[in-house]
Amino acid sequence: MSEPRRSPEHVAHARRRVLLQDVAARAVVTVGGLGTIAAVSGVFLFLVVVVWDLFLPARIGEREALANPRAAIDARIVGTDEYVGILWHIDEDGVVRALAIDDGAPLSAVALGAEGVASTAAVSEPGGTACAIAFADGQVVVGEVGFATSFREVGDVDQSLRSLGVGERRAVDGELVERTVRGGFRLQRLDFRERSSVRFFADGHPVIALHRAARGADVVVAAIGQDGRVGVRRLRRDEDPLTGDVVMEWSPVAAIAVGRSASGSPRFVRLTDRGTNLAVAWADGTLERWSLRRLDAAELAETADLVPGNGELTALEVLLGGVTLISGTAAGDVAGWFVVPDDASPDGFRLTLGHAFPAEEGAAVRVLASSGRERIFLVGDSGGHVRALHMTSEKVLARVVSQGGELRALALSPPTDRVIAAGSDAIETWSFDPRHPEVSLTSLFLPVAYERYPEPAFVWQSSSGTDEFEPKLSLVPLVFGTIKATLFAMWMAVPLALLAALFTSEFLGARQKARLKPLVELMASLPSVVLGFLAAVVIAPAAQDAFPALLACVWTVPVTVVLAAQVFQSAPPAFVAAHQGWRLPLALLAVAVGTCLGMVSGPAVEALLFAGDFRLWLDGGLGSGLGAWVVVLLPLCAVGVILGLQMRFRDRLDRLVARGQPGWLVHGCGTVVAAAVSIGVAVLVGFVVHGGLGTHGPVDLREGLPIGAFDLSPFGTFDQRNALVVGFVMGFALVPVIYTIAEDALSSVPDHLRAASLGAGASRWQTAVRVVVPAAASGLFSACMVGLGRAVGETMIVLMAAGNTPILSMNAFAGFRTLSANIATELPEAAPGSTHYRTLFLAALVLFAMTFAINTVAEAVRQRFRQRAVEL
């Protein structure tokens, strides 16, 4: 170093430069670090914001009363068009009237019955337009309140309409004109379609209550006559495929021989399940359910009581989907009823109470109306209180009070964005946004009573072919699938990875280790999509016939390896010491021999335990369930038997050897006897357990082992893409992750501990097991936890190889669906902002929470491990 370079000017300059670099570096690092934190929190925040909306309550707006076009409104049913521009109501005089919803301007009216004949009853399908109206002269009219819609460009409409803004509406000549977003005009006119009328009872007896249901293209109509008789007719609709001509024809009346109740004539009649079930109810709550599978041979399926005690049934309606009956009582109670399978019933079903909504105001329920899009319905009582309820989640979405006089009819607009109440004095509307009524913490994580499910259940079924389908969004099957995938993968990966790590760290030289470790770590670079592809396309088909052989290998390989070790170790000490290098090849040879033995004995195992065909046996068609118990019990029994025999006979064997018997023979025989005894004990215990321990019938694992809603049996029906295949392949993906960390943990155990152990005369294996593994235990644990974190988040392998069935079964031969695979499959097709979309984001949050918890535990343990490593 020369003198001029250390001159004061130079030092000052250098100092300035260093300071500048310091400041710049600090700024860059700060910006980078804060930016990373901000980005991560931003993602998290985005997830939370998207999910948050799920849990916001429904919104209902201010009351808007329509100007009353008539002196008194006597509507029987009310509804709107799908654009919610026209409000229609069918009145007591048998006329359907349309008016503009914005200002109440009348548009048009169509008389449905004969001149001057009043209607006696009217019904419409949930939220929809298909109606049936009964008249005092015994006529019944069915049809659809439809709207003739046409579109016009700016040039085609009257000058006065051109000033309309986008979204603005005006009534013109009985039509409602709306300026559309595209700038054109939409014109709508009331159009009652597909009308067909019939004198319902042949003698012209008036109908006091009726209901209709679509059955394919046909319509089934059920009605109660004034004298209490009940009849059903079917309107056949035949369309000539060539000409398009429609022929409609009424079937004769099928009389239903309903019973007599103390309260007189039946009051309600409702058709459910596409017109295959008829519910006839009396005011005292008695309900007869008739099976209409054959219309001309109706059968009484059951009698139920909807109102226990002395209450009065004041309303009965059908929820969207045509399955659930909604009942309302004079006390204000509301309940949902649906049929569930029941073998004891004549038609195989039984009506059960699914949901109950306790009374709030105590006033009698007058009107019930279902939405046409969701399981939402409105309840109106004699006091004018209107509630919007969600059936499945049992949530009260909104409460309003009508001031339009006595409530006559209620409706939700087709998009479920407006509540309409027709009272005796006025028609009122409220804007409504139910948001995500079917989702709540309870519905996501607790069993939910779904229509037709015998018990509350955890179900994930987000979409279906029909509009009437109810999405079932329980995250439990997905969390269960994630746990199942993790368990199976860990079961494969943990022993393999930990033993491999132990082997490289404790038994390999530095040079071999330097070669092997990167090789294993290279496994991690295999894209999981490739592994998933291999699993689904190559391994799953190849493995489906090999399971008995694989199960046999689980038994033969350890036995041959132990035998080989004993024979080798029983050779003269000098020979053993001189041929240490032979141990690994010998072990590999023993594994190969064991595998061959397993493969050869596979068919025999299949014949003995699995009735000769493993897959058929799994499906429950063949053989007994004893084999399942043997497979489960064998490892446990083996451990028990070996420990027991060792305690009891080890000294005797040692004495035999000491007396000059050849050691390999004595110990070899011991191993074979232990293996045989284990099998014997397993079969015996299996036999006892399979027999049900004398208390109940045989316990067959193939039929499941239900614990609550979960089936914890590892056996059951066979799928080609099953948990074992996924476990095997995902295990392969986890091995490098666990291996690397475990190996680091083992290698970081200080060498002086190994030296102390070896110096005390311990073998390498004893050193590894007694000193190194306990010292590295927390590191090994943390390796497993990191592997666990990886398994929980793994997507492609499970997506491709797990079959994606969201079931709650631990069956090793069936698939599952994980949170991650579910997000990957469904998010692309979920409408942004929809309940489904947000629930998928919630699934992502749950996944995040799971991995976060696992990684936190892993990190906490690793911290402890570091502290302890310092002490060593």
């Binding site: 030289g509 530095a510 040079r511 000490p573 000098a574 020979f575 053993v576 010491a577 001189a578 200080p750 060498d751 002086h752 501990l753 190994r754 030296a755 102390a756 152990s757 070896l758 110096g759 005390a760 005369g761 311990a762 073998s763 004893q766 007694r770 000193v771 306990p774 010292a775 302890r868 002490e871 060593l872």
Partner: protein
């Protein structure tokens, strides 16, 4: 240069023309040495002279290192140490080893002491407890830890840990006790305790101790061997070595002019 007094002693451990290479690097060069039975032999010499390597070669701990190559012979009570047909594990059971840094296992005091018996498969609790007490008494630690045998050994002080390691080495009744700078990580009080302990063990056990401290060698050993650059320079009774060494190199080293 081996003094006649050494040759008169009955040998416990014999080293004949022993050389050792770490890769290309020759760490020991034709060392020949007979360790007297029942005596304390100190190995001294400058850093890197090979004294620790020699000690670790005596129970083949150098096997843990990959690139080690040896030549020559070692014998414990006449039995060869090196050779294809030697069972190293059986051999190590006959020796005890104490290391530079106290290295108790992360287990209880009791399990630390009886470790050698445990790995031999001894399961009889009474046998283990008796052996533990005897070894701890021999290591002059019994009174200090008798009430905390079940506590973690990592909670002991450094000096106690080192005596625990000595107890651990003694539990199997070794024919020879190898100590690799046992006091270099300890304070003077702990050091003096260990030195007293060594003195009390002499006679019953043959001890080879590697030490950096000239005072320790002069205080606590019967014989002293000086090593330099992998060679054994001079080996004689400790008083002679420190007062009237035969070689000028020994004189220089002892007087602190070298190393």
């Amino acid at each position: 240069m081996v003094h006649a007094e050494v040759a008169q002693e009955e040998p416990c451990f014999e080293i004949e023309g022993f050389s050792l290479w770490y890769g290309e690097n020759r760490a020991l060069d034709r060392v020949t040495m007979r360790v007297p039975k029942g005596r304390i032999t100190a190995l001294i010499g400058p850093s890197g002279c090979g004294k620790s390597t020699l000690l670790r070669s005596m129970n083949r701990l150098n096997d843990m290192v990959d690139s080690v190559r040896v030549e020559g012979e070692m014998r414990l009570a006449g039995d060869p140490i090196y050779g294809k047909e030697v069972d190293v594990i059986r051999l190590r059971k006959r020796m005890g080893m104490v290391f530079q840094k106290p290295n108790p296992f992360p287990m209880s005091v009791f399990e630390n002491v009886v470790y050698a018996l445990r790995v031999d498969g001894v399961r009889d609790r009474a046998v283990l407890e008796e052996a533990c007490e005897r070894a701890l008494r021999d290591a002059a630690l019994w009174d200090e830890v008798r009430d905390r045998l079940g506590a973690s050994a990592l909670g002991l002080s450094g000096g106690q840990q080192q005596r625990l390691c000595i107890a651990r080495a003694l539990v199997g009744n070794p024919e020879i006790l190898l100590m690799d700078e046992p006091c270099s990580a300890l304070d003077p009080i702990a050091t003096s305790k260990i030195e007293d302990l060594m003195a009390s063990l002499a006679g019953e056990y043959t001890i080879v101790v590697v030490t950096h401290s000239m005072q320790q060698a002069s205080r606590a050993s019967d014989f002293t061997a000086l090593m330099s650059y992998g060679h054994l320079l001079e080996f004689g009774p400790t008083p002679t070595m420190f007062q009237t060494p035969r070689l000028p190199e020994t004189e220089d080293y002892i007087r602190g002019r070298v190393g």
